[in-house]
């Protein structure tokens, strides 16, 4: 009995730890002191310190005592790989939290921010571990609905509220279609269990239709074209840290799940989903890039460019080999570091000066050399220029994609890399080379955002050059 209980705790370790953090924060909120007039005392700084320390501990704990096994009638699984993926998300969340310090310090609802944020993370964890369609759906919803509230977290801004409204409507729409697909699946297969699905696949038209609905739901969350329309509005309306979270953590989690589901569960319909993924990849890369080229608002630009990045990930996914799965996971890590570094700088600048246009960043190097270099290296990594890790990530994605022999797709992807280089360089040029009468004033970074940016920077350089990271992921996939 005790052994079982310990097993239970260990297998659900990531989820339970996260729950513990949520409860500690909740408890702090309940016991918060009030001023004489009933308004709460401004203790944002201490809340933020506590939250960041807890998240750091949570991340560190993710390295220890990871066991493999199933729970809840085999509908929940935990393996070395899922533990690793969850911990990547833990790290990403920690980085987002560190970066939001500047913005949250003056915010009135810090505690709620963390509870909502961590609730979505919990949803993602459930999704990653799910071995059953229903648990997967549950996780998906839990990871979406609180996010809509977070999008609305610039409480005074109308745009923020509008973005949240759009997001919730669109996600309800996509959920409905997903549920429709799941129920049809159940009708054709009589089971929703991931382990039983492969045997029940028969490749009928109805199942293909269900698969399309499932991929559309994935596509909605990772903003693949044509399911991406909400992205630009929501990214622009949301506070920058939430945008970072949406574009990196939320997407990353779905991509993890998508890889597992398509590679393992729907391997039997590989020919079909391969073509769908190819179509989506091409549409996503091209649309993302064409629209990113025109953007003058840095946040919007990164939103569209992150759509294009997803297109590249889909190219790797289309490889349909172990290298495909490994390179997708590897790229997500790199993408987390690179995109969070870029958005981190923008987040600080936006929180302190409200400036978000590319032209505002002219002469940025003169006043903020350190931030400029971080931004430049992050953008170089996003553009895939060696020796930043982004290059290795993209290269392996293309290599995995080429493994399936579809050179046309690889050529389109490589062409898109050039286009993306153009707009990333445009920012670098503004930062380093353009003169400006009134540059953004010198920014004194607080400890937390600084630490967050430095971790990203180290990550960008180390994940690429240290081949161990790639080989480690390879071993994780091989051990499955």
């Amino acid at each position: 009995m005790t052994d079982q209980l310990i097993d239970f705790f260990l297998l659900m370790k990531s989820e339970l730890l996260l729950l513990a953090v949520i409860f500690i924060m909740l408890f702090m909120n309940i016991t918060a002191k009030e001023n004489a007039d009933g308004t709460p005392v401004d203790n944002n700084h201490s809340i933020l310190v506590t939250a960041n320390i807890l998240l750091l501990l949570n991340f560190l704990a993710g390295f220890f005592m990871n066991t493999s096994g199933n729970l809840f009638g085999d509908s929940f699984t935990s393996t070395e790989l899922t533990a690793f993926q969850k911990n990547i998300l833990n790290l990403g969340t920690l980085l987002v939290s560190l970066q939001s310090y500047t913005w949250l310090k003056t915010h009135k609802h810090v505690m709620e921010f963390y509870m909502l944020l961590l609730a979505t993370l919990l949803g993602m964890f459930l999704m990653i571990s799910s071995q059953h369609m229903l648990l997967f759906y549950l996780g998906l919803e839990l990871s979406t609905i609180p996010l809509a509230a977070l999008v609305n977290f610039d409480l005074e801004k109308k745009k923020s509220a509008e973005a949240a409204m759009k997001m919730i409507m669109m996600s309800a729409f996509s959920s409905a279609l997903l549920l429709f697909g799941i129920s049809l699946f159940y009708g054709t297969m009589g089971t929703l269990h991931f382990q039983e699905i492969p045997a029940a696949l028969n490749g009928s038209d109805l199942q293909l239709y269900c698969l399309i609905l499932l991929i559309a739901a994935f596509g909605f969350k990772i903003s693949a074209v044509p399911f991406h329309f909400w992205t630009a509005d929501v990214y622009e309306g949301a506070p920058v840290p939430v945008t970072s979270y949406l574009s990196v953590i939320s997407k990353g989690s779905i991509l993890f799940v998508m890889t597992t589901v398509l590679y393992n569960v729907f391997a039997g319909m590989g020919v079909e989903w391969y073509l769908i993924i190819c179509v989506l990849a091409v549409a996503t890369m091209i649309t993302g890039n064409i629209f990113a080229v025109r953007q003058q608002n840095l946040k919007r630009l990164l939103a569209f460019s992150s759509i294009a990045q997803v297109g590249f990930i889909l190219v790797g996914m289309s490889g349909q080999n172990t290298e495909g799965a490994v390179s997708v996971t590897y790229f997500i890590i790199i993408y987390i570091f690179s995109n969070l570094a870029a958005l981190g700088v923008i987040s600080v600048v936006s929180a302190l000066t409200g400036k978000e246009k590319i032209s505002d960043y002219k002469g940025f190097y003169k006043t903020n050399p350190m931030l400029s270099w971080i931004l430049a290296i992050a953008l170089f990594s996003l553009a895939g220029i060696p020796p930043t890790s982004g290059f290795f990530g993209k290269f392996f994605l293309l290599l995995a994609g080429a493994g399936n022999g579809n050179y046309t797709l690889v050529i389109i992807a490589a062409l898109n890399m050039i286009v993306s280089l153009y707009y990333y360089l445009k920012i670098v040029k503004a930062v380093f080379m353009d003169a400006n009468e009134e540059p953004i004033p010198t920014i004194n970074l607080a400890f937390f955002p600084k630490a967050g940016l430095l971790i990203c920077l180290i990550g960008i350089i180390v994940t690429g050059l240290a081949s161990g990271s790639y080989n480690y992921i390879q071993e994780l996939f091989a051990s499955l």
Binding site: L177, I215, P226, V410, I418, F432
Partner: protein
């Protein structure tokens, strides 16, 4: 001492000096930055020369063949069961030769820059960039596999971007660095895809393995690459063509050369390093590196020949009309690299490989006299404060050392014996004569043109009119500026006497170098004639050149405008890409997307007043697009597929 014990120091020392100067240079090292760079590069150069000596004279030759030695090799990453990526150092005749060229020229440029860049605000930064560039170039030269070469290839691109854009307050410099970066990136895209194809079909990234499998006619890899085709061209041709496009981009071959003349916006010593001896010859080096594989495919070799000879002729014609001395040198570089390229293209593997040897011989000698020309031009620009020929003239008395060394370099590039350029050019011409007469006559004509425009440059700078008064405070330059000129001049005289084919041949088996004195008569006579014409036209100020120019108005103008190639590109990018792709995308976004959503909003006006607002219409549109996507996929995959 074993190679493995020290060889890694050669690229590592410049990297260290980059890190040191990059992080602490501005604050702590300051004016001593130049000497830090010289010290690290000097050590690297000494080690390189030592390596070359050992390799060529002590232990490189075994059983009558130069061995490929790989003293350092680490498996960096195992990508899949069969494909792994290594990092290592490869020594063979070509890489050892390049090692000496790169470190020596870089050392000279470092030395020269100490005086040239004195007083610049970002002095330490400049030297850190130089070190970074040298490191990347050395890494490129020493690569054991095609992935490693690509990494350093890109790093070379980044560092040259930084160097060209060094004067970032000058808008033209910024534009030029961006152009160089984007154009070469575009070519690198081809390279990248070529690597992917080679890696997958050839089964390895490693040069040695790749060459061994693909030259073995029995291997399944070769069979697949020859039998499977895409758009009617075999996979092998695709891979090699794409790799060659990468090389052509870096080596400024027609039609990807447009970045090179603009890149002259960088500091002049930088041009001596990047645009004479190192980066621009990377394409030739790449072809040489994989030569046995290239030699398998006559079609690709043909492409290389045509690209090379076209670039050589075109650039020589343009060079005759330019008035900016650095641009003349830039086009002359392009022309000379065209020589090296077509020599590769016409060469055979193992036998009849005079072209291969000649190409690399020319690369070797060209590195010395072209960097000497650039450094000389730098000294002149430093003195006159202008790039334009019309601001110069009569400098032979005030700048005696620059004058003599520049003259030597001009004679060398014109192919006058016994200077270095003569021997290497003869080798190439001989190869052309033996394999393709058309190419030979075009090359011969280019050779005469080369002599003409180089002496046009020489006479305009050092003769022509009497020296104008230049308010200079530094005379001809410091000792550190003169010393590199003299050393390079020494190499320009001596390098040609090296019996090159004793060391570098396509299959690494030494051959005896042969000189055909009778064969050399025609090219030398032509060169002398061209120099004579240049002397008549430009030695004293007169109006003959203008008259000739106006009598050949159309041709002259076309050449002056560089055959309008830039304009064509501009037309394609600005007019076609921008108007046909970007603008419609914007238009669709503005009119159709917004219009449709307005339409939707208007359509639902009866149902609800709220729906009239743009926003609610938008979400409906989004949902519609969502559904549309599913519908299209469904129709496409269920009913059509």
């Amino acid at each position: 001492m074993n190679y493995a014990n020290y060889i890694y120091l050669i690229p590592l020392l410049p990297l260290l000096s980059f890190l040191l100067l990059g992080f602490f240079g501005r604050k702590y090292v300051g004016a001593a930055s130049g000497w830090v760079g010289v010290l690290s590069l000097g050590t690297s150069a000494l080690l390189s020369v030592y390596t070359a000596f050992r390799y060529f004279f002590v232990d490189g030759l075994m059983d009558g063949k130069y061995q490929t030695i790989i003293p350092v090799k680490i498996e960096w990453l195992r990508f899949s069961e069969t494909l792994s990526i290594d990092m290592g150092i490869l020594l063979d005749p070509v890489s050892v030769m390049m090692l000496v060229v790169v470190t020596f020229v870089s050392l000279m440029v470092h030395l020269f820059s100490i005086g040239y860049m004195k007083g610049e605000e970002r002095y330490a930064t400049y030297f850190s960039y130089l070190s970074l560039f040298t490191f990347s170039m050395l890494g490129l030269v020493l690569s054991t596999n095609i992935f490693q070469i690509y990494m350093f290839w890109e790093l070379v691109g980044v560092s040259s971007y930084l160097l060209i854009g060094y004067y970032f307050t000058k808008p033209s410099a910024v534009k030029a660095s961006k152009k160089a970066f984007i154009v070469t990136r575009f070519a690198d895209l081809g390279f990248l895809i070529g690597i992917l194809i080679l890696g997958f079909s050839g089964g390895s990234f490693d040069f040695a393995t790749l060459i061994a499998t693909l030259t073995n006619t029995q291997s399944p890899e070769l069979t697949t690459m020859i039998s499977s085709s895409f758009l009617g061209i075999t996979l092998l041709s695709w891979a090699l063509t794409l790799v060659f496009i990468g090389g052509a981009g870096k080596s400024a071959m027609f039609p990807l050369h447009i970045w090179l003349p603009d890149a002259m916006e960088g500091p002049t010593p930088v041009s001596a390093l990047i645009h004479a001896a190192t980066m621009v010859v990377a394409g030739v080096y790449l072809v040489a590196r994989m030569f046995p594989v290239f030699a398998l495919d006559p079609a690709v070799m043909q492409l290389i020949t045509i690209t090379g000879i076209t670039s050589a002729v075109l650039a020589a014609i343009i060079a005759c009309t330019q008035t900016d001395i650095k641009r003349v040198l830039a086009y002359s570089t392009m022309s000379q690299i065209g020589y090296m390229m077509f020599a590769m293209g016409i060469s055979g593997y193992a036998f009849n490989d005079t072209g291969y040897t000649g190409s690399l011989f020319h690369l070797f000698t060209h590195a010395f006299f072209k960097s000497l020309l650039f450094l000389g031009a730098g000294a002149v620009i430093h003195y006159v404060h202008s790039n334009e020929m019309k601001d110069m003239g009569g400098l032979r008395k005030t700048m005696p050392i620059t004058h003599i060394t520049f003259l030597l370099a001009c004679l060398a590039i014109a192919g006058i014996p016994p200077l270095a350029g003569f021997f290497s050019k003869e080798e190439i011409l001989l190869a052309a004569w033996e394999s393709n007469k058309t190419v030979y006559f075009m090359a011969l004509g280019t050779s005469a043109l080369t002599a003409f425009y180089m002496f046009r440059l020489y006479f305009s700078i050092f003769w022509s009119k009497e020296a104008a008064h230049h308010d200079n405070h530094h005379g001809e330059g410091t000792f550190t500026m003169k010393l590199p000129l003299l050393l390079l001049a020494g190499c320009t005289i001596g390098a040609g006497l090296i019996p090159f084919s004793n060391f570098v041949t396509s299959n690494n088996i030494p051959e005896k170098m042969e000189l055909h004195l009778l064969f050399s008569i025609a090219p030398v006579l032509l060169a002398v004639l061209a120099i004579g014409i240049a002397a008549i036209l430009y030695k004293n100020e007169n109006d003959k050149p203008d008259k000739i120019a106006s009598s050949m108005n159309a041709l002259y103008r076309t050449a002056l405008n560089k055959f309008y190639i830039d304009e064509i590109y501009l037309f394609i990018t600005k007019k076609i890409i921008f108007n046909l792709i970007a603008k419609p995308a914007a238009w669709i976004d503005r009119n159709i997307v917004d219009g449709l959503m307005n339409l939707l909003g208007n359509a639902t006006i009866i149902v609800s007043d709220e729906a009239k607002s743009v926003q609610s219409g938008k979400v409906q549109w989004y949902a519609l697009a969502f559904l549309g996507g599913i519908l299209i996929l469904t129709v496409a995959f269920i009913y059509l597929y």
